[in-house]
Symmetry: none
């Protein structure tokens, strides 16, 4: 019998259990969708059993709600919203994010499985009002993050004044989700990159026309 060492994942560590359930549930739902996700499969992967799950979450739906808000919402904020908060050049920042995520590995959107947010939205938005609300909040956070950044860009002079932040942000988000869907169905990376290039061109077109003087090309770290 050990005297201490009680900080390790002991048999009873509700916080860690909950986190493991959330993570595995996210993976399962990402792969198979909500309807296709199997509670038993999640359990067998976590090594837990029914009792544990239904202790932490009231139902499969409750589990999915938490996945949407905590896991997906968290990842989206970290990947797409937070980077914009610090920049005065939202268009450049978005271009960087697009470039990084489409080619890189740290993206929420992978080529084969699409965007988890988009996947769930397509599957559940019109089936269950509760789901739609939660998904909507995540979407709104995304749109608002971009819209706010665009406004800040306008204040900083890196975005044209005649750009409507809300509509444009909505369009940008829609385009990104659409590209993710295209990636998922085609699995044709060059094609998606080319289409992403068109999006970047669109973003560039939102910059103020270069004055006769110098253009205030902002820094991109």
């Amino acid at each position: 019998m050990l005297t201490t060492a009680d900080h390790l994942p002991r048999t009873k560590d509700p916080e860690a259990t909950r986190a493991r359930l959330l993570e595995c549930a996210f993976e399962e739902i990402y792969r198979h969708g909500y309807g296709g996700a199997s509670v038993d499969r999640i359990l067998s992967q976590t090594g837990l059993t029914k009792g544990a799950l239904y202790h932490h979450f009231g139902s499969k739906a409750d589990l999915a709600y938490a996945v949407i808000e905590e896991v997906i919402g968290g990842k989206l904020d970290q990947l797409w919203v937070a980077p914009l908060r610090e920049s005065d050049d939202p268009l450049g920042a978005l271009t960087d994010l697009l470039g990084g995520y489409m080619t890189g590995e740290a993206s929420m959107i992978d080529l084969e499985r699409g965007c988890p947010l988009n996947n769930l939205t397509q599957e559940l938005a019109n089936a269950d009002e509760e789901f739609r609300t939660r998904l909507l909040h995540v979407h709104e956070a995304w749109r608002n993050g971009i819209a706010t950044a665009l406004e800040r860009g306008q204040a900083a002079g890196t975005v044209r004044d005649d750009v409507e932040p809300s509509a444009t942000a909505t369009f940008i988000v829609s385009a990104i989700e659409g590209l993710a869907g295209t990636a998922k169905s085609t699995r044709d990376l060059p094609l998606v990159l080319a289409a992403g290039g068109v999006l970047v061109q669109f973003l560039e077109s939102l910059r103020p026309a270069p004055t006769t003087r110098r253009r205030p090309r902002p820094k991109r770290h």
Copy 2:
């Protein structure tokens, strides 16, 4: 007109039976997705039984394959591809289609249920290779239709020469699908219309710069 009304659902009319199955299956899948679609529900709505379905289609998957190729592919061609085939001004035609479908009733994309093609793509593209292939073909027909129209527009002088038809067509399709997804989750028609307006602006930006003379604004029927 024939004296005997032989076009009515006679006791044995395999063609009509098949068509009814396809139509009901499309509705069911549109509403609940493929996984959530219930064969029994389709049957009870058509008034047919298992035997009939199993005679015309080997499985639920076969039924869905036919829905994708015949129903969805057919509607998409009719709504989005055919109208472009006759026009030399693809940007104007697309603008009209967007305007008509987003506000109108004849669209494949309704506000609450999204785009059936996109729905199925999100659900099945990475789960089943067979499905992905069929969905891909429909997607390609759409993209190719737009790309070809853009090329024709370039030849006719209504589209800038530096536009890459394939990448741009892919982007346009992605944006449309993305807008449909946004519509589905927000159900906020004004917001979607505004974002659609941004897409229209983008399309306009693909027109050749007006020469010193006047631009040959093409007719829009």
Copy 3:
């Protein structure tokens, strides 16, 4: 239109159709048992359809009845009963048949699939009285064939007089069927041959004790 040549398997040749159905049905039932036999599979192998089958046979059971009586009964008579009819030395004849069939290829009993008669008996004898009756008739024909041959052997002096023909014939048939079952489960040909050798020894033990003179070893063609 041909003037003659009407003896070829024309599109309508009920006799040939019936025969094809019987043969395919035998194969299917042999492989999968009666319950596991699929009418549709039989049909697809014959190239015929439901209508043809149910024209010739009233039901799946009727088809199986005909298989039992005509196909199985026929083969059994040809393989096990007819050869005994011409011999005055049933023990020698049975030994030859055993040797030939167990090693040879012309047997009704193949190593992997067992004896079709036995298979059906095990499956159906206690489930359906109608089946039991038909199977019983075939069994009786077999037993009677051997019993009669034993009696003839007794008259000819090649079989001991204290042998009870009926009981002994029943035992012999049982042992053969049992060996077939063992073959089916073990697929161990040497083992089955060895056990068959024991049966042959048993048969030899039924010969009259050799008199002081010479034994009348009968001819085996």
Copy 4:
């Protein structure tokens, strides 16, 4: 004896539930074969539901595997193998077993339904390799039990030395199974008893020839 009668079917008694499922499944399969056995019928007889079965056994096949190994294997060992283990006179012991089981009620082989082991072997041996393996193990246990007993008999002088234990045991098992099949199809008890008498005669013929003294007729309990 415990004060609390905890051996009664409490609300949760997985062992008893499993046993009930096995017993009912054995009966159902005995009556209808594996293919004809209905899971729902088993459930309705046990009073349990799908969930319980699926918890204890992964599938209908898994249930049948357990029936073969535990129920049939157990009964066979108890009825045919164990009694031989204590005897130095296997031929006498087998004769007793044959006599007792063929007329008695405690037999695994009843007149109408045949031997459950044989039934399953005929139905499944060539259809499913997994089944064949399990059935083979039970068969082998039976054959080995008799073969070992014959060897012990040879050592004790109750069995002729020129008897090949393995081949003879295989033949005996085959003959018993064959008789069971005959019983099933004829339902003619006198006939089967007479044929069984022939088997007994064969067994007697395996005894050593009586020496000039008297044969040490062994005790039969």
